[in-house]
């Protein structure tokens, strides 16, 4: 987090940085007006300070979302140059719907990666959830709502099973979830039985999840406005409260710049989506999930515990955190999100099939989280990396499909991108170490 320290420098409230009184022999601290540690690189006021701070962070390996954003910009520029249909409203709208399926699974992966673990079963769990939904609803006539809830619950339960074996019995997560990968895929084939593929009715609620658009212009622009205003308000109120109790706060200029950047992005998206059929329901659901879970990670004590476990299990345990419970719950959440993703994918395809949850789905979900900037080493990352990573992966596959590139090449390129992301992760971890931020 970037904070503006210099505003309150010298103020009586700036306790933590204060030199330790007369016993302190540091001449710089004595004669200077400031009482901060003189070696601390203090950010300058205003926008220039923002830029220098930014540059320093980059050099120390604290790259944040910059590599992904640059990556997305390059990918979009290249494809747009090759085929002007790439940034067309229809293609972007389709892309936004495509993100939701795998992206949802990837959100669960982010939680598992924050723990410093891995979950290889999410693909199979998502396929099984889709099969459960279809069999219950189509074959047995269970009401859709109940079938959806059952599918989600099955995902959460399977995840909890993985978590139990990992956290309570002590089996390495890699092995437990690898067993899950195979077992749940088998169970899915069993559930589907001889039917093979089960189609979901076109007029069903499940289909609507990815087929419905809020077509009024006001919907997309309204959502953009709510997002921008909400972001600004949250930052502004936080900054005001900080100022009130005399701790460093974000200057208004920085909040305005951030809000401005966000506004440009969301209004541009709203405009493009309105050019086509409007705001897709699938995108609304995905973003809502992202906002909620991002809140959980950053602003609740549960999220703090997950991150603590990713940093040091022993320290977390000694702080009184129930390690077993947190681990089981995270795997359960990953299962739940996998099931959710499976339902979204089935909704988009219009069926549950024997191929659901197989192929490169698992790889893409993990790759998205890592490409988006969540560390494989645990304890560092953000729920939003599921969206950013999926934007990269989705853009590549959508662009290549437009250009008629074969699947084989697509796989190789996605593999290359994943490798690049992991390299960035590892290198930035090393640079951060040497810059003392690791």
């Amino acid at each position: 987090m970037t904070t503006n320290v210099d505003k309150t420098n010298g103020g009586p409230s700036n306790g933590a940085n204060k030199a330790s009184g007369p016993a302190d022999a540091n001449p710089v601290a004595k004669d200077a007006v400031t009482v901060v540690d003189p070696r601390l690189l203090v950010r300058q006021e205003g926008f220039k300070g923002y830029l220098t701070e930014f540059g320093r962070k980059m050099r120390s390996g604290d790259l944040g979302v910059v590599p992904v954003i640059v990556g997305i910009a390059i990918i979009w520029a290249v494809f747009q140059a090759k085929d002007s249909a790439f940034l067309s409203p229809k293609n972007l709208s389709d892309l936004s719907i495509l993100l939701g399926g795998t992206g949802m699974i990837s959100v669960g992966i982010v939680f598992v990666l924050l723990l410093g673990e891995i979950d290889l079963s999410v693909g199979s769990v998502s396929g099984l959830a889709a099969a459960t939904l279809a069999v219950l609803n189509v074959n047995h006539g269970v009401p859709e709502g109940i079938a959806v809830i059952a599918a989600l619950a099955s995902g959460a339960a399977l995840g909890a099973v993985h978590g139990f074996f990992f956290a309570k019995i002590g089996v390495p997560a890699f092995v437990v979830t690898l067993a899950g990968l195979l077992a749940w895929n088998g169970l899915m084939l069993q559930v589907l039985g001889t039917t093979g593929t089960i189609s979901i009715a076109d007029d069903s609620f499940v289909r609507d999840l990815t087929a419905h658009y809020f077509s009024q212009l006001i919907a997309a622009y309204g959502a953009a406005t709510v997002a921008t205003a909400g972001f600004f308000l949250a930052q502004f109120l936080d900054s005001r409260r900080r100022k009130a109790v005399g701790i460093p706060s974000r200057p208004l200029s920085e909040i305005l710049v951030r809000t401005g950047v966000l506004a440009v992005i969301v209004y541009a998206a709203a405009w493009r989506l309105n050019e086509y059929k409007g705001l897709p329901l699938a995108l609304v659901i995905f973003v809502a999930v992202l906002v909620i879970l991002d809140f959980v990670v950053r602003r609740t004590s549960y999220g703090r515990k997950v991150i603590a476990l990713g940093g040091s299990v022993e320290a977390a345990r000694r702080a009184g955190i129930n390690v077993v419970a947190i681990r089981i719950s995270v795997y359960s959440l990953a299962g739940l999100m996998a099931a959710f993703g499976g339902i979204m994918i089935a909704s988009r395809i219009g069926s549950a099939s024997q191929q659901a949850g197989t192929g490169n789905l698992l790889m893409e979900a993990i790759a998205a989280a890592v490409i988006g900037g969540t560390s494989l080493f645990g304890g560092r990352g953000s729920v939003w990396s599921a969206l950013l990573g999926m934007l990269v992966i989705g853009s590549i596959s959508s662009g290549m499909n437009l250009l008629g590139v074969a699947n084989s090449v697509q796989y190789m390129i996605t593999g290359g991108v994943l490798l690049a992301a992991v390299v960035i992760d590892s290198v930035s971890r090393r640079t951060q170490r040497s810059a003392g931020r690791g």
Partner: protein, 262 residues
Amino acid sequence: MAIVPNGPVLALRGISKRFGAVQALTDIHLEVHAGEVVALVGDNGAGKSTLVKSIAGVGPADEGVIEWQGKPVQVTRPHDAQELGIATVYQDLALCDNIDVVGNLFLGREILRAGVLDEVEMERRSRELLQTLSIRIPSVRIPIASLSGGQRQTVAIARSMLGEPKLVILDEPTAALGVEQTAQVLDLVERLRDRGLAVILISHNMADVKAVADRVAVLRLGRNNGIFDVKTTSQEEIISAITGATDNAVTRRKARSGEVAK
């Protein structure tokens, strides 16, 4: 000064603990009263940290009873010890490198506001706390990984001061500290005692022990090897208890002749 009840805050009765083939602790007895600083000393590997961990619920003892304010209690998880009011600074610090100073200070006991982490209040209190302890770190919002060893140690000590403990256990708190910071920690220990808290201080530095402790409990090879009153005992006597020569001449001669016989 707070009212000091007669009985000990913490009493250990017959604590034993083994790690595989190593009998790390054998039949340890120890009492700590409110408003008292007990120094726990002993050579490397004597079992001091193991004893601390058994009190803190990190590595529960195999045998023995822990009495808290006169009543036997079960301390099987770190959470149990926290509930009782035992705050511990571990020798290996146990901080999360990836979380900032504020987050580490409040880890496991975050301040909530309407169910949501109250970062502002936590940051304010952290600054206040660090200021009262005269702890100087670049910023409370940088990850622990970017602090020096001594700075980490001061953060770990500050962490134990949150949440109104009744007993504070410091496992070699000054090991990584400079002259000034060591003096501050010793001042802090005295302040804790004056506030009526019980303190267990582990240190290899006899000068520190003599300066702040009321009593010294010596561990040797996992066993009690004497409890001394600091005011009436010379440094040499304590050191000989640590190294194995006991405090009376006869046993000392025996030990010496035993060594010669080897």
